[in-house]
């Protein structure tokens, strides 16, 4: 996740700092797209007794074509997962970048995450100052690992259910029962988490409302960097590396695309949450 310096090095009168690279943003885009597709074609099965589930299945052209869309999206998501993992492997073994294993640019949970989490909660209730976050916060790491674990579990169980006759060579048939439960429950967890907690953490909390465009533009404003990640800002300033990340605002079309895609995802996601709550609380 090491942010790469934009070409040219010095950017005059910069308003932004670089945060996400193009591939990361693209991968996130495909992840979003496939996740929505999987959620909207999969949840009708989990809530098959609800009238809205039948309407949704009909909207996708029946359960068979909904199943096809589900599998296409699954292939997209598995590809995203594979590309991401291969990029990590390359950075680790190719570029010998051990920074992804420990330190501020690593996704690996570290003692400071626990400290920051406790401090953050204390700040919520007015018992202390806001912690000074670095490049990745504890909730971002949780989001990351939740999705990582989720893709492994849902993807694995999904493949078993997609090719049961093949998997029956190595697994007993009752594993299909387990795969069904795990696939559904974990999907519910993923959908519930992404469409509420992740949306809140990323977009809907008062500081960000209505949305944070960083995942689409790859850049944060100077003010945001100073206030939200003071530790990172100070660290880079002391090391004299801030200028490497300095950047202008992204082109307009990127903002527009981000606003459209992100806005649509949030609306669809919240709609799905409403449907689930309607079914669960009924």
């Amino acid at each position: 996740m090491n942010a790469q310096a934009p070409a040219g090095g010095h950017v005059p009168a910069h308003t932004h700092y670089h945060r996400f690279g193009r591939t990361e943003r693209l991968l996130h885009g495909f992840l979003m797209f496939s996740f929505l597709g999987l959620a909207f074609t999969g949840l009708p099965l989990l809530f098959s007794h609800e009238p809205w589930a039948a309407s949704l299945a009909r909207f996708f052209g029946g359960f068979e074509s909904a199943g096809t869309i589900h599998r296409v999206c699954a292939v997209v998501m598995i590809s995203v997962f594979t590309i991401h993992v291969s990029r990590i492997v390359r950075r680790l073994f190719g570029q010998k970048d051990l920074g992804i294993l420990w330190g501020p640019h690593s996704m690996v949970p570290q003692p400071r995450d626990v400290v920051e989490m406790i401090a953050h909660v204390r700040w919520f209730v007015g018992l202390g100052p806001q912690p000074r976050f670095d490049h990745f916060t504890y909730w971002e790491k949780f989001d990351y690992w939740a999705v990582f674990w989720g893709m492994g579990i849902i993807g694995g169980s999904g493949l078993v259910l997609w090719f049961p006759e093949l998997f029956a060579y190595v697994l007993p048939g009752w594993m299909f029962n387990i795969a069904t439960v795990v696939h559904g429950e974990e999907a519910l967890l993923a959908v519930g988490f992404i469409f509420t907690i992740h949306f809140f953490n990323g977009h809907l909390r008062p500081e960000k409302f209505p949305m944070d465009s960083v995942i689409f533009t790859g850049r944060v404003t100077v003010a945001e960097m100073e206030e939200e990640r003071p530790e990172e800002f100070e660290r880079l300033r002391r090391a004299g590396r801030l200028d490497e990340l300095a950047s202008a605002a992204a082109p307009r079309w990127v903002y527009r695309l981000g606003r459209t895609a992100g806005g649509t995802a949030v609306v669809l996601g919240l709609l799905m949450v409403a449907l689930i709550l309607f079914a669960v609380l009924k």
């Binding site: 308003t15 932004h16 009708p44 099965l45 989990l46 098959s48 007794h49 589930a53 039948a54 299945a57 029946g62 359960f63 068979e64 909660v121 700040w123 919520f124 209730v125 007015g126 909730w139 259910l161 049961p164 006759e165 093949l166 029956a168 060579y169 697994l171 048939g173 009752w174 299909f176 029962n177 387990i178 069904t180 439960v181 795990v182 429950e185 974990e186 519910l188 967890l189 519930g192 988490f193 509420t196 907690i197 809140f200 953490n201 909390r205 008062p206 500081e207 960000k208 944070d212 465009s213 850049r219 944060v220 404003t221 945001e224 206030e227 202008a248 605002a249 307009r252 903002y255 527009r256």
Partner: protein, 424 residues
């Protein structure tokens, strides 16, 4: 023809008896000669013959002559017996109903045990059909004739005069409602009406003709536990399978719970079993007794897809059989240990014994039956509960604090949108 001859004999005998009684009582004035048919037709043969209140009382001579009674030489007074001693014309308007029982004693006796006669007797429900309502009066032809009201192909219309008539249904308080409309759209109705199949059942094939009894009457052809016998009158092979099955053997023992044909197929609106809508409905029917099996089925892909309204995946009968359902322990059962793999292979061609270890009715709450599933489900439950409780609280607290900070104006401009390009 035999019946006609018999009728003639009876009429002659009756006349002879009358004559002998007359002969035995010479002190009384000789009984008047009963009016001949021609005497009656002198008035009633006029197409314009009406009562004082204007209701027609005409009898077309050629119609009567062509009827079975006319052809058999039955006299008017054989049925209208109270006119046999008539001397004055025109006779009184109020007459006894025609006496069919004089000749058709067995049919009338059967009718008397039926629902129509019962309704007339008990509640004075005068809407309920009498002989003439179904057979007609002066124009009766044998039911083997296509022109007969009681001919196989016309019976539906005849019964439908009441059972397909909302007005009569209302007046007669017929609880079952308009069954004729239901029947018309059924597989039997279409075969009978559209295809004109002589083997397709009409009303009488299931209900009987004169002794139509209520379904609560144990002697009725449509009494619950008699229904499989009635249906297998035509569906012989299915009947054999059914009587052997776990349901059939229970019904034969008098079980009031085990399903009979109509539980799944309904009575009047019986549909083709290859229709998607029916296949989905019948799952619920199995579930009325096998409640827990339906619940666990709904947790599987099969159950979810059928709940969404698609019948392409396995439903109850696809695995368990339809009429030939046996307990799993019975080697004849399609879900028995010996046959299960072959049953899975109907859809999953590559199914193996390992594949067939899938439990189509797994219960995540049953530790004995599905131990691994039980623990997995428990773990998933804890995971979901844990994550959502922690982050639910986390989010709620953050939201509160964030709102407070925002109101206090503690942040500089954070929103990063395309206005920053030419703005800040």
């Amino acid at each position: 023809m035999t019946r006609v001859l018999l009728t003639c004999c009876r009429v002659l005998l009756a006349l002879a008896a009358t004559a002998s009684i007359a002969g035995a009582a010479p002190q009384k004035a000789a009984a008047p000669k009963p009016p001949a048919n021609d005497d009656c037709l002198a008035c009633h043969g006029d197409a314009g013959a009406v009562r004082a209140d204007g209701r027609p009382v005409a009898v077309a001579p050629e119609t009567f002559a062509a009827s079975i009674h006319g052809m058999g030489g039955v006299a008017c007074v054989d049925c209208h017996a109270d006119l046999a001693t008539l001397t004055e014309y025109p006779h009184a308007e109020k007459l006894q109903p025609a006496q069919c029982s004089t000749c058709h004693d067995k049919a009338v006796a059967a009718y008397d045990t039926g629902v129509h006669a019962q309704a007339r007797r008990a509640g004075g429900n005068l809407v309920a059909a009498t002989c003439a309502d179904c057979h007609g009066s002066h124009d009766i032809v044998p039911s083997s004739e296509p022109a007969s009201r009681t001919h196989h192909a016309r019976l539906l219309d005849t019964c439908g005069r009441c059972h397909g008539n909302e007005e009569v249904i209302k007046r007669g308080k017929i609880a079952i409602g308009n069954v004729v409309d239901l029947f018309r759209d059924s597989i039997h109705g279409k075969a009978l009406i559209k295809s004109g199949l002589s083997v397709a059942p009409a009303c009488n094939d299931c209900h009987g003709s004169h002794d139509i009894r209520r379904k609560t009457d144990p002697q009725s052809k449509i009494f619950r536990n008699t229904i499989p016998g009635t249906c297998s009158g035509c569906h012989e092979g299915i009947g054999r399978d059914y009587w052997e099955s776990v349901h059939g053997t229970q019904v034969a023992k008098g079980s009031p719970l085990a399903p009979v044909c109509t539980n799944c197929h309904t009575a009047h609106e019986i549909r083709r079993s290859d229709v998607e809508g029916w296949q989905l409905e019948v799952i619920k029917e199995c579930g009325t007794c096998h409640e827990h099996s339906l619940e666990t089925y709904r947790d599987t892909f099969h159950g979810q897809v059928t709940a969404l309204g698609y019948a392409r995946v396995a439903s109850c009968a696809d695995c368990h059989g339809a009429h030939d359902v046996y307990p799993k322990s019975d080697p004849r059962s399609t879900v028995s240990d010996a046959k299960r793999v072959a049953t899975c292979q109907q859809c999953h061609e590559g199914a193996t014994p390992s594949f067939a270890q899938f439990d189509p009715h797994a219960d995540p709450e049953n530790r004995e039956r599905n131990p691994m599933l039980f623990y997995t489900a428990q773990f998933m439950k804890m995971l979901l509960l844990g994550v959502f409780s922690f982050f639910g609280l986390h989010t709620a607290l953050w939201l509160g604090r964030g709102m407070q900070q925002k109101t206090a104006g503690r942040w500089r401009r954070r929103r990063d949108d395309d206005s920053t390009e030419d703005g800040e």
